[in-house]
Symmetry: D2
């Protein structure tokens, strides 16, 4: 199968290339970059030297339609037209921007500051979390890959909402993320000297991923769920931890929680439940998923305050972006769902 | 004035030595360490080479009573006797362990696992946050320096509780802390290869500092306050950020919040309010207080969910430990409150 | 083929497990650890959760002889007996300690402080760098995997010595290495708070790997080569850079150097030559090999001082240890040399 | 005394402001920045909030001449005119660019790519290392502050050259530096995701600081000294280690080296000799000078190869830039040489 990648010079684009270059069912046919058209891929992604001999092409929709499937990995707002045109030309699209994630067109005005030009497309787009929408993904022509913090938080919270365990108006998602989550564009705030050693709250209220999480959890809970999200930049390159603070509406113990989480994620190839009572690795930590497509999930209960903390960790470029997208591609194409994703995370890194 | 430091080979001990070695009103007379008795201080704290010529002494209470004031910086449980004996001998004590922080003896059983041998002492001990207890500190003979996450969180939350602005049963303190917070004892979990790049939730519920925060906020709020605290180890050496998530019980806007925070902290030498509407430094970040005694505080409001996020950042070894202790010493001795603490934080570091 | 790993709880051991757990030709049969006997592997190596269901066994040589091949990954001195007994029992051994690396028994006294008990074994042992000894490895029964800095430096220097290009008495190897190179045992010097942000020269003269490098380069150069090595601990977990400073004895230009390096490494699956004249990735950097078995090599010439700088970068746990060992296993067993090692490095990490 | 700072929004500029804001003998009168004219200083240097109330001014030479002394901290090439005009107006200037460091005008063509417009000024400029040129500094009107790696390396090597101990044609300076050394301008190579975890050789031959080091050492050695320098970017923000590899021309032992180094640096307020035979801090490490004006120096001998390794560590923004400049100001103004520089480094950081 021929595959193209639009916006392949960014960090997410580079990760797609890493995964596609060794994927057994794929021919990587065309990779585009406005900025680096004409340059060899490994000049921008040096780790890929020896794996990809392509050069970046300029964006050319007509040529892209020669592919069976195209990944679009461009900034929000820039994917609107590209995706529409590829879709209309009959190419399957997996979009890694936010442009087709939300079902409610008004949310684009509120969170992204633009009027969505193709609101009818929003209902055709499938939100690309296999653990939540596997059957719809199988039949999709347009898949919208989730935000990195959104997918991580959602996988931690979904079983709780599905089982109506928690107060839907007091859910706090406190997330921590590495520097690759900011994208590759240099700026004063990403300069190493200013970014190293930070614990920087960068959008304490109204972060955009809030919209996706509320959308998906409201579907699952069958009621209007409110999410209070605060993301923080911390000093690592890859990785997200979502600390999902919830208040219980029912009494529940750890054994029941195991059952609830196992019930939802049994057989899932990329979910691991992490909860130990001894040793130093009792809870999920993104350190132990780096480079892999896992989302590690754990939990704990504070009986005194009726609080349940659900912890979820992922590699923001993998399960948080390129890995989820490849997983969706495998599903929509009928490949083995783990193909091209069998990367063991490694310790220490 | 003659000063002694018990437990001077740890990170907090070393920071006390750094501050005392250049303090204009103090003669550093005796520094003890069981492990390193006989060694020069700079062999353990190499940055202090040229500043302190002392060697570590073994613990000797009688000799310590020759000092006017003694700092005790030993692990929880180990300070109980040392503090009592020094106190009984008429020496002023500033204890940096948790052994004299809590007023309710039962809390020691619950949080620290021991029966407090001197419950009557708990009421004599003053909780060492100058911004909350300056007058009591002035007249104290025993000051119990607060936990690093406790003081940071308390300074962010106190004005809200004082003004009855927030729901006292749904306060989440999500804190992030550097590796020096774990103390200097080597272990598998502090090994650089395992500690670098982590976002490790290490005590998602029932962390010990919860007890102090609830104690102090309940006094301020004049009602029973519940704190839901989850600390995380992140990849830096010094620094704490507390993200204090609260839900508003009254409508309040940003201007009113400025007034409330300024009202409480006006004239405080070590509180800075940080909130900007442009630039990259809109909120507190421990990166910008490293090495100094500041606690930087900021806030934001999420009108949609009636949420208020109060952010507070400190250097865990300074305002979070040694700096607060020196500030208390200055108060109790009648020195200028900033003496020995005029360290500009520096950027970048 | 049945494989055992002795000393599997360390960092190198864990990396062997990562690679073996997905190796297509191997059945991982037995993993030993004194300290963690009885524990599940993933309790010590959390990233391997879901990949290995074994528990650690205590060391039992008899049981180990049921394997076709055993990796020994224990500290220097501890492998002497284990290797000998396995060898005598007819098991192929790949030893990752230094105990069988040096040909000259006297060097063990000088560099390791012990009298080698089996000097006759030293000549039977093959030094496990495929790029230098592939044919001998193919027929070996005992392979001694090289030191991490040794193999990295050797691969950078070998072509120069082979072509008699440089002054053999003024070779400086200035190496920089991450914290995983120190092994997993906690100590004051590996504590994150003391290890983060260092540039720590830790054995400016007489580092043990000097002996291996001199041994191998002297063979290649057919004369007595002197190496002046100074290693430094820097703030990363995985990775080595060797800056090999040499002085030219002949005039040579960059084109000739390309030819010389390509001549030696043509067809090598795990050597990449890195030298670009524009962009930001002009020379090797361990950042771009992390997780992979590559050794990236580059060079530059300083005509003014007749100096040639050869730069070589590897992941110390991969090409520097476990990766090289697996590559040797593939050769000695007649497997495809890249099997189990097809890990793309990833950027950024 | 009234002081101005030109180019005060960069990292070196910010460090000058930190030091000047608490200097007892100085009135900080004017700080300029083209980019940030009109902004409050603390918006760019957030750690200085509460210390400086000034806003940045645009560059105005006439206004700058109202100062007694001006620091110029602008990129190489940009200082040429500013310095000349201030000098001609009778203002004392301490220039932190390279524009007035080299005595030989031809070296500017070779290393900096420009023809120096005021070669006659080069002899009037004093190279600002107090340990080497204190008396000339005292009488200077133009002081050229040294390059960060140059001063660090020079302080390590000077005693050896002064005593004719080493082969002047085989001196290797292998230096490692943090990200603040690259200046504050964002770029692909300084982005945290690409800069974290690197060991990046960035100018293996012909680095510009070579010219300064050769100039100064040749004066000291009274012969033509050749320096082979290779700098590396490593993962820290502040700090330089220079590993100065030399070959001995005379036999010398450690005791004699102590004598030689003590002889040269006795009484120097900002030189510490670091060499211990036990413990974990045997040699200099920039970690232990961060925030201070110290240059820590150590050494070791490799008798086998007649090699002497001289290790020197500094904070690149302090002794490597702003700290040295302030020290020079103190000398030229007749202040106490340590005023405004009494910052204890702190551990851990």
């Amino acid at each position: 199968m021929k595959v193209g990648v639009v916006g392949a010079s960014g960090y997410v684009g580079g990760e797609l290339l890493r995964l596609l270059s060794t994927h057994p069912d794929v021919e990587l046919n065309m990779v585009t970059s406005r900025t680096y058209a004409g340059e060899y891929v490994h000049r921008i992604h040096p780790s890929l030297k020896g794996f990809i001999d392509l050069t970046f092409s300029p964006l050319n929709i007509d040529k892209l339609t020669e592919n069976d499937l195209v990944f679009t990995s461009v900034p929000h707002g820039k994917a609107l037209e590209i995706v529409k045109r590829l879709y209309d030309a009959g190419v399957k699209v997996i979009d890694l921007s936010a442009d087709y994630r939300l079902k409610n067109p008004k949310a684009y005005v509120e969170y992204y500051g633009y009027e969505h030009p193709y609101p009818e497309m929003l209902l055709k787009s499938v939100y690309g979390i296999p653990e939540l929408h596997r059957e719809e993904i199988r039949n999709a022509r347009l898949i919208s890959s989730p935000g990195c913090m959104a997918v991580t938080s959602l996988l931690g919270l979904a079983p709780l909402l599905k089982n109506n365990l928690v107060d839907t108006k007091h859910i706090i998602v406190d997330s921590k993320i590495g520097s690759s989550g900011a994208g590759g564009k240099p700026s004063a705030s990403t300069h190493h000297a200013m970014r190293a050693g930070v614990i920087r709250p960068y959008k304490p209220v109204k972060h955009r991923h809030t919209a996706e999480i509320e959308q998906e959890l409201s579907i699952i809970a069958k009621e209007d769920v409110k999410i209070s999200m605060t993301p923080h930049a911390v000093d690592l390159v890859r990785g997200i931890l979502c600390t999902n603070h919830t208040f219980l509406t029912k009494e529940v113990d750890i054994q029941q929680l195991w059952k609830i989480y196992r019930g939802m994620y049994k057989g899932e190839p990329f979910i691991r439940l992490i909860r130990d009572t001894k040793g130093i690795y009792k809870y999920p930590d993104p350190k132990f998923v780096v480079g892999s497509n896992f989302c590690d999930i754990g939990f704990d209960i504070d009986e005194k305050n009726n609080r349940l903390v659900a912890l979820s960790a992922s590699d923001n470029l993998m399960k948080g972006a390129a890995g989820s997208a490849i997983q969706c591609m495998n599903i929509v194409q009928g490949f083995n769902e783990s193909n091209g994703l069998k990367y063991t995370p490694f310790t220490p890194v």
